[in-house]
């Protein structure tokens, strides 16, 4: 089973998209897919996997759905009506391009703005990545029943309010795409910088986010923000292994062993950034710009040789399209590298609304430390610690605090 588990998860998620369209209901599609997976697990180890596993799963699941509906049709007229959907007059061919279109439809359904943001994330991991409810619950540190309820509610709303399975028309795409990209980004950041728990990096979520962004970049190859997001994730993830020391403590960018960064991934990400910027018609969006910033860091031979003025310029552009306090904070951190910690601190202290954000306090603490204002730095480190950081971050902050003496 383990040999086929990953294949079935990935191909099953593709099959689910087509099944959802054909059957008109996500829950029915999941049940039918489950039946087909049982058959696959019996046959594939003996006969070998089929040439197109997603198409095989789709056809098998559809037949299983017809069986299911026939059995239940006697009980319910409504399901009899559903039968008309499933038994097409001529058999449909489920080739890769049909399935791709269906995956994109399901992406926009799972990331529909009428669903609560946390439901979009959970549903995407369930329906698009094929993760189990238990896996998603573990990744987000909530109980399995709570996560199951979140997913059931979302599916119910999709069915009851008839959230459509449709790729938005071109003129709606710009409005709808940010919600999709935000879901992928949240999955990645939760994996990359776990907000709680013992591990700083939860690799599974990072991989899923990169896979999703990759799927989107194949389906929407002309959207610069999709390319920018994939670039941002690849470039950030390329530094993954160097971010944690052997004791599980956080390693700052300045102290990371750059030889351990993934050179191939950095090359791929950097090329994507260039494509994204070229397609942005002089008005790059937030992901293309963040990708460009990540490329600056990833391609710098050392921390001191980083092109900080370029990064400051990019953050300036980013602030115009994404005027948030977090962006202002990051820009201030970059300015501290160009004009010194005093200039950075001046900007940081002008930012409001980040009192509950641990990185605001740790960035401030670092600038104060570099200005030899030890008492104030200690106070800021304590403020960061009070916000319950993940274990690796806590270790790092405690170490810095102790070094102040």
């Amino acid at each position: 089973m383990n040999d086929f588990g990953e294949l079935i998860r990935v191909e099953g998620a593709r099959a689910l998209a087509t099944l959802t369209r054909v059957l008109g209901d996500l829950q029915l599609a999941e049940d039918a897919l489950h039946d087909a997976v049982v058959v696959a697990l019996e046959r594939w180890p003996v006969e070998g996997p089929p040439a197109n596993p997603a198409a095989w799963l789709t056809v098998t699941a559809r037949n299983k759905a017809i069986d299911r509906l026939r059995r239940e049709a006697r009980r319910s007229e409504k399901e009899e009506a559903a039968m008309r959907y499933v038994t097409p007059s001529e058999p449909e061919r489920f080739d890769d391009s049909t399935i791709d279109d269906d995956v994109l439809r399901l992406v926009f359904t799972c990331c529909h703005p009428a669903l609560a943001p946390e439901a979009r994330v959970a549903l995407s991991l369930r329906a698009l990545c094929g993760l189990s409810t238990a896996e998603i619950a573990r990744a987000f540190l909530v109980s399995e029943p709570a996560m199951a309820q979140r997913i059931v509610r979302a599916k119910h709303k999709i069915a009851a309010a008839r959230i459509p399975y449709r790729v938005p028309a071109d003129h709606e795409l710009l409005e709808r795409l940010p919600a999709v990209l935000a879901v992928v980004y949240v999955i990645f950041t939760e994996g990359h910088s776990a907000s709680a728990g013992d591990d700083l990096v939860r690799v599974d979520l990072c991989n899923e986010a990169i896979r999703l962004a990759g799927v989107l970049s194949c389906l929407l190859p002309d959207e610069p923000e999709v390319l920018g997001l994939l670039a941002l994730l690849l470039l950030t993830d390329a530094r993954r292994t160097s971010r944690v020391d052997p004791d599980g403590g956080l390693v700052l960018l300045a102290d990371q062993d750059r030889a351990r960064w993934d050179a191939a991934q950095i090359e791929e990400g950097s090329a994507l950034v260039e494509r994204a910027l070229r397609r942005s018609a002089g008005r790059p969006g937030p992901y293309a710009l963040q990708g460009a910033i990540a490329a600056c860091h990833a391609n710098a031979p050392s921390f001191t040789e980083t092109d900080w003025p370029d990064i400051v310029m990019l953050y300036g552009l980013l602030e115009t399209v994404l005027p948030t306090s977090v962006v202002r904070l990051n820009r201030a951190v970059a300015i501290a590298e160009v004009d010194g910690p005093a200039a950075g601190l001046l900007l940081v202290d002008a930012i409001t609304g980040l009192e509950q954000f641990q990185h605001f306090h740790s960035a401030r603490a670092d600038m104060l430390r570099r200005l030899d204002r030890d008492a104030e730095a200690a106070h800021a480190y304590r403020a960061a610690l009070a916000l319950n950081p993940s274990t690796p971050e806590r270790r790092f902050l405690l170490r810095r605090l102790a070094a102040l003496g």
Binding site: A161, R162, I163, P164
Partner: protein
Amino acid sequence: MPQYAALIYGEDADWAAPQYAAQMAEYGEFGAAAAQVIQGGAALQPISTATTISVKGGKGGDLVTTDGPFAETKEVLGGFYLLEANDLDEAIKWASQIPGAWHGRIEIRPVLPMG
């Protein structure tokens, strides 16, 4: 075709008063533009005319009648439309043209299919 209720929340207004004439004209325009999808609807009289009732202790129990709305909020239900739409995106498209969307906000609820 599925139906959606577009519930219009906003200030507590007396739609018949002259100062709302301009808004009522906007509603007139929406009514004409969306005639093919509007299945019903109404503007409601102000909150001062509202009565809330409940029957305590199950069917046939004591009727409790109180003056005013169920909940005191800044935004009140001022009216509603019953719209016909294929899916939520279509319902949103129509609801976004209801004047209440810019004077207040619209809650879109799928209507429970009966029978």
